[in-house]
């Protein structure tokens, strides 16, 4: 209390109207501002650039990599087939994962306890099993069920298939990646849906929109913007995880490369071929993510802003 009183009395003693020229502000017109020169930052930058150059030239000039071999296989038939198959598995799996993920997220968010429980068990199950283990189980699915049939539960069946004919290595891979990824994606979608404010749904409801109508037109378009970065992350991750299919002899990019080096022993150059392709695919995906994020940004075109200048009342 005493200090406050002293401060106030001192402030009152200051001549009225002295303004900025009084106290610490006296004579500031003559001063000069000196900003720090960030020499340290620049020095670290130069060192990092040198290090990078050293590493790059070390790779480029390593004779064991046989860049000519790399070049001759980069666009060869079997390799390109492998690239296409890797893309096929990735794109189909993530499509399954997103559709199933949206359904699972809605189950979790529903008021029905049974649906919530089904979602919880699903997510728990598929997140608990290593991808490779799941992949091998799916590949050997015919050992579990020799025949698959379409029909009524506990009732008659209409069509029956031999499992081994339907579940090829490729379909086993797609189903495995799709189902497991759906468990992860559903959590991302759930978080994104929850981040859309409750008021958006209420506004839709008062306009006579149904639950699924509001989900499709109002909630999911807004949730998509939020879910896009993590889903893109998962797509990239999945793309590289698909190399596990080499274990069940699906001729993807990695498997095709292994086939070639098993015959000609050019192990490292061919792994470089695979690396280059994986990097290319991921680069394209990153670009697609950047483009999608930009197109989802909801503002008018700049030309329109020029036509209608902003007047905020």
């Amino acid at each position: 209390m005493t200090t406050t009183t002293t401060d106030r009395s001192r402030a009152e003693k200051r001549p009225a109207g002295a303004g900025p020229s009084g106290g610490a502000a006296a004579g500031l017109e003559r001063t000069e501002r000196r900003l720090r020169r960030n020499t340290g930052v620049k020095l670290v930058g130069v060192l990092a650039a040198l290090l990078l150059a050293f590493v790059v030239q070390g790779i480029a000039r390593n004779s064991a990599l046989e860049w000519r071999v790399v070049g001759s296989y980069l666009f060869s038939g079997p390799i390109l087939d492998g690239v296409l198959r890797t893309l096929l598995i990735t794109v189909t799996s993530i499509a399954i994962a997103v559709v199933l993920g949206v359904l699972l997220a809605n189950m979790r968010l529903s008021r029905n306890r049974v649906l919530q429980a089904v979602n919880a068990v699903y997510v728990w199950f598929f997140r608990s099993i290593p991808l490779l283990v799941l992949l091998i189980i799916a590949y050997n699915f015919s050992l579990l069920y020799a025949h698959l049939s379409l029909g009524l539960p506990f009732g008659p069946s209409f069509v029956t298939f031999t499992t081994a004919h339907v579940v090829t290595a490729l379909t086993a891979a797609i189903i495995t990646f799709g189902l497991q990824q759906a468990a992860y994606t559903s959590e991302v979608v759930r978080a994104a849906i929850m981040s859309v404010s409750r008021g958006q749904v209420e506004a839709a409801e008062t306009l006579g929109v149904t639950y699924w109508g509001a989900m499709r037109r109002i909630v999911l378009p807004q949730a998509a913007r939020i879910a896009l970065p993590p889903v893109a992350n998962e797509t990239i991750n999945l793309c590289k995880s698909t190399s596990l299919v080499a274990f069940i002899s699906v001729p993807d990019l990695l498997y095709s490369v292994q086939e070639v080096y098993a015959a000609n022993f050019k192990v490292l150059p061919l792994l470089v071929v695979a690396t280059i392709w994986y990097m290319a695919i991921v680069s394209v995906m990153s670009a697609a993510q950047w483009w999608l994020e930009r197109s989802m940004r909801r503002t008018r075109r700049t030309t329109r802003i020029a036509l209608a200048p902003e007047v905020v009342e």
Binding site: A203, G208, T210, G213, P221, Q222, A308
Partner: protein, 258 residues
């Protein structure tokens, strides 16, 4: 001799509990066509919960809400009110427009798209026709030149006026406004109240929860004062002065806000 048309809105002994606590207890309200009613009351008096019960955003635990004589969410056969299927509710809600405190415009749609959404997707009216009438509605709220703007590019007052246009696009029988100016900067309150006043002048039936006593007095026909989830006093909106009201609790509330 034909029976007189039922009131546009009739709430009968509506109660809403959260847990064991009553937010609204036995509130009844009748609103005839072309009448504007303002609900006043201190915060926590249950007025927002009550107005949300009127279109079943909160489902009343007891009591019924009738719109044009039809019970909301139920089908009446004699003395039995049978709950209708969940998907019947959206159809009934089309007749009740709502304006929220936080506007709740669809953030991913332009002002025009916000207004067009329900007539196109719910009523399935042709897009070109809806575009014309939505444009006219934006003009009516004074925002024809903001049709292509996204909500985040509009001021609060402009957003609320778009929200009013969006509610009007469904040609509702009744407009519910839940504190329509409470989230606005003071200089924007006027533009929104002006739009609402013009709607009342044109004969729109309206229930508004508001703290703007001046607006209630000049624009509404009737007022309802709520406290503790119950109606304390009901009367002619012109009597909304400390000397005009009859209940002590209403008077002390008015003394604080006027």
């Amino acid at each position: 001799m034909s029976a007189p048309a039922p009131p546009v809105l009739e709430a009968w002994r509506v109660s809403k509990r959260f847990g064991s606590e009553y937010a609204v207890r036995g509130v009844s309200l009748t609103v005839d066509a072309g009448t504007a009613v303002c609900i006043l009351g201190p915060s926590g008096s249950g007025k927002t919960t009550f107005i949300r019960c009127l279109n079943h955003l909160e489902e009343p635990d007891e009591g019924y809400v009738f719109v044009d004589g039809e019970p909301l969410g139920y089908r009446r056969t004699g003395d039995v009110f049978a709950q209708v299927r969940r998907r019947e509710l959206p159809r009934q809600r089309r007749r009740i427009g709502m304006v929220f405190q936080q506007f709740n415009l669809f953030d991913h749609m332009t002002a025009l798209e916000n207004v067009m959404e329900a007539p196109v997707k719910v009523l399935r009216r042709p897009r070109s026709e809806v575009r014309a009438s939505a444009g006219a509605l934006l003009e009516r709220v004074g925002l024809a030149d903001r049709a292509d703007h996204y909500p985040r590019e509009l001021s609060g007052g402009q957003q609320q006026r778009v929200a009013i246009a969006r509610a009007l696009a469904m040609e509702p029988r009744l407009l519910l406004c839940d504190e329509p100016t409470s989230a606005l900067d003071p200089e924007m309150v006027h533009e929104v109240l002006q739009v609402l006043a013009s709607l009342v002048a044109e004969g729109m039936t309206m229930v508004t929860v508001t703290h703007e006593v001046g607006f209630a007095r000049e624009v509404a026909q009737r007022f309802v004062f709520m406290e503790g989830g119950e109606v304390v006093e009901e009367g002619d909106a012109r009597d909304l002065t400390t000397s005009g009201v009859s209940e002590e609790r209403t008077r002390s509330f008015l003394a604080k806000v006027l």
